[in-house]
Amino acid sequence: MPEGSIKDGIGASVRRKEDKRFLTGSGRYTADITRPGQLHVHFIRSVHAHANIKAIRKDAAAAAEGVVAIFTGEDVAADGIGGPICGWVVTNRDGSPTNEPPHPILANGAVRYVGDHVVAVIAETLEQAMNAAELVEIDYEVLAPVVDLAHAGSGPQIHENVPGNMYFDFELGDEAAAAAALDSAATVVELEVRNNRLIPNAMEPRAALAEYDPIDDSYTLFTTSQNPHLTRLVIGAFMLSIPESKLRVVAPDVGGGFGSKIYVYPEEAVCTWASKKLQRPVKWTADRSESFLADAHGRDHINKVRMALDKDNRITGLRVDTVANIGSYLSAFSVVTPTILHAPLLSGCYRIPAIYTNVKGMATTTAPVDAYRGAGRPEATYLLERVMDTAARQVGMDPAEFRRMNFIPKDAFPYQTPVALQYDIGDYEPPLDKALEMIDYKGFEARRAEAASRGKYRGIGLSSYIEACGIAPSAVAGALGARVGLYESATVRVDPTGTVNVFTGTHSHGQGHDTTFAQIVADKLGVDIGSVEIIHGDSDRIPFGMGSYGSRSLAVGGAAIAKAVDKVIEKSKIIAAHLMEAADADVVFADGKFTVAGTDNEKGFGEIALAAYVPHNYPHDRLEPGLEETAFYDPLNFTYPSGTHIAEVEIDPSTGVVELVDWACCDDFGNLINPMIVEGQVHGGIAQGVGQALLENAHYDETGQLITASYMDYCMPRADDLPNFKVDYTVTACTHNDLGVKGCGEAGAIASPPALINAVIDALAPLGVTDMSMPATPEKVWRAINDAQTEAAE
């Protein structure tokens, strides 16, 4: 393709450049990497939810074939190795700080969940390590577990410095105003919901391979991370106490994360620490059982909701009291997820004058809980969209019209909510109308009647969501307790021949950055997308980066790339002006060419690149040679994707099976760079939401054993659980980044669970059913039908 064409630029559904290697098995993942002399570590994990460690006898194991070392928490403590830190804390209602217990990378004295890391057995081969592990004897004094979230506060105390098992007690909003609204309401709507606990299940299990170089006393850690620079910062500065410059962290191809690979985990720190102690590379790859037990889980809230309506059914107030399960230790973003990423979203896309919320973060003897696709926003959206339907039913309004009349009107932007956020732009009626049309909302009653003639209950459910992406303005985040900045960096390095290398601080673990980011650069520079390489995931190659999560890669990382490209263009213009003997201001850049207004002079982008590196005729008085620019972009605000999703279901009353028969959604993600990739994100997000609403549930029994610890018992959504999705968009461009983009990675997972549960309840509403918990399993639905029929008979 000739230089200057933008066929594959912004707005084109370019096929993903990275898919060839992914689909042909040619990806290079951490587990694919082998270093000379590498050892293998196997972790012995706690079989008890809560116990004191009385003794660890490792002599027999140490003598076993191939064993090189066996480490315990005492070895970690002796070397002064720190644990993973909590990256964002909050201030309690009473002004006190979050209670932060220690989190040793190998348990020292006590274990606090099934799967807790107790002993690292390191051997020449993995099989030898596993064989030796069977010879290690651990004496436990078993303690009472804390599993029931609702009563976690009255359970035995899990950490010395976490009284009442409460890590934090957070509030946001105006309690008195919300109380006044509820006191004077014409209608009060009450609802208690449980946001079920999920296990992320990235396709690639976590893995780490650490290598120590004694020549310059430095480490290289290959690991499955969504943010290698954060991993470097935490392991270097907080855990191993080594200079950051002595640790290189590489996250090569990573097969999905959904949040679970944001956090620094003990295993990768153990590998790094042990690589120096043993002077040999140390490798670990989780098996699927370890992923179930010890990846950070997601969600797990109990939310009590009270909503006030006036006599015209306008919302006047909202109070939400949440108990959030944080698990056994504070994972990196475990505190921010149910607080800062949750509470400010409680206004949704509605005008609600008074909002107050309290969130109590509880310790339990279960795996740590942290951000999982959506991170706080799905929990907020679920309770809000559930109570919206409950309210509409209570006052006898159509749920679509009840939402519409309470939407923030389009002329009210920028709109300041009572829970801290200021929405820059949005228009909520067009996506609602479009989605209603796509699913043929008007024809629903006829479809319900037709289904009834076949003995099926048909229901329809809406969810009009908003979310906050592009985390975050660093100053705002800092004021709210963040211990990191949340800008993003990009370096654009143009080669002498005009090819372009883009070094981004975001990380792609399936999102398609190689393609989307290349489209932005190709579009702006007017070059072929094939001449743009996207480089990420290596702390030695990237200036700095905060990684990928919270649907931030495009809105923050893409914006940084656009800024760096703009700097390249500005410098190129000066070079072009020099070469064409024109004034800077007369040079125009378009379609990959620099021209001088009013003349036929022109220079291609490639010519300018060559001149920058072969500066024989060059404005040396004004510019340095070379063509490479770096930009750090710190966003001015969050971005606010929104939209409406509608689910339609049919229920078989004789079995309780819910069949999802139709799905329509209309999202406003601002401008789209690659609509095909966006559609893929929407599909994947909905699939995960359907999983949460119908299928998935992490179940601990009363002793704290994880019962759903394999795919035999943990139900992942499959293709045949899903209908074809009808997907469309409206666009209100984000006002504060140059690309006008908002982010699309989590919206489907945020919007979909309440739509689906609302549809299930709608199907059963004629029987008198008003509630359904997630996941809506066949037995639960069958029981709800039976109970309603029994009640009707009485």
Binding site: E127, N131, T655, I707, T708, Y711, P778, W782
Partner: protein, 261 residues
């Protein structure tokens, strides 16, 4: 996985001899291999039956004889089975996924007697016969409890025979996670009357339901099962389904199987 020694048996006698020496028979490995990978089974010796000549399907007049090492996909795709006992072919075609159906065997499944497996329902529902290296065992005598069979320690299945019948159906209500049968019901009209075999649900593994069989003998229609009760106390109860829900499903799925006959 622990270290193990893999060997191939050349014929049935060879396999039985190696089993007597402590070898663990490998008949597809769809249960055994995952269990070994989890270190829950650690056989020192694996004896692969793939080379024993036990695969194949034979027409024996009134019955069909299926060799123990015949894979599910071959039963599902067999014109002979599809013509003579279409319900059996359909059952085989619904086991696991494509990969499992191309590795797993009927002998392996029947010998394992997993309470959620499909094949035991067919063997019991059709009133089949299990042939071993030393005797023939009627289906009614073969399945003795969850993962328990009438096989002696050193006894090996060589084939399973099924009487031909066109009036039979198997309906499975899959566990949403594993897609094994949470309730599976095989209904067949056999020479000695109607047989109803239930898998996935019973706490003692696959079982026949006498009440349903009697009701269907009195009148073969789904409606005949309306008044039938299934004892919830005899059902498996777990996080996926309680005993009373499974009991309800047994009757419901049985009705669907009857309707499909």
């Amino acid at each position: 996985m622990h270290h193990t020694t893999y060997m191939k048996a050349g014929n049935t006698d060879d396999a039985v001899a190696r089993m007597a020496d402590g070898g663990q028979l490998l008949a597809g490995g769809m249960t055994l291999i995952p269990t070994m990978k989890q270190r829950l089974a650690n056989p020192e010796t694996l004896v692969d039956l793939a080379g024993c000549g036990l695969a194949g399907i034979e027409d024996q007049g009134d019955s069909i004889r299926i060799g123990a090492m015949t894979r599910h996909a071959d039963v599902a795709g067999s014109d002979l089975v599809r013509g003579a006992i279409p319900a059996l072919a359909a059952l085989a075609g619904g086991i696991g996924d494509r990969q499992v159906r191309n590795r797993g065997t009927i002998g392996g499944s029947v010998a394992n007697n997993d309470p959620s497996a499909c094949y035991p329902a067919a063997v019991l529902g059709l009133g089949g016969t299990v042939h071993t290296d030393r005797r023939d065992i009627a289906a009614d005598d073969f399945f003795t409890g969850m993962f328990e069979t009438a096989l002696d320690e050193d006894e090996m299945i060589t084939a399973v025979s099924f009487p031909k019948t066109g009036k039979a159906a198997y309906v499975k209500f899959p566990n949403p996670a594993s897609r094994y049968a949470m309730v599976g019901v095989f209904v067949a009209s056999a020479v000695d009357g109607t047989r109803v075999a239930v898998t996935g649900a019973g706490s003692d593994g696959v079982f026949r339901h006498a009440g349903m069989e009697a009701a269907l003998d009195a009148g073969f229609s789904a409606g005949s099962l309306d008044g039938i009760t299934v004892d919830a106390d005899e059902m498996i109860s777990d996080i996926h389904a309680s005993g009373d829900y499974r009991a309800h499903l047994v009757r419901e799925i049985a009705k669907r199987a009857v309707a499909a006959c």
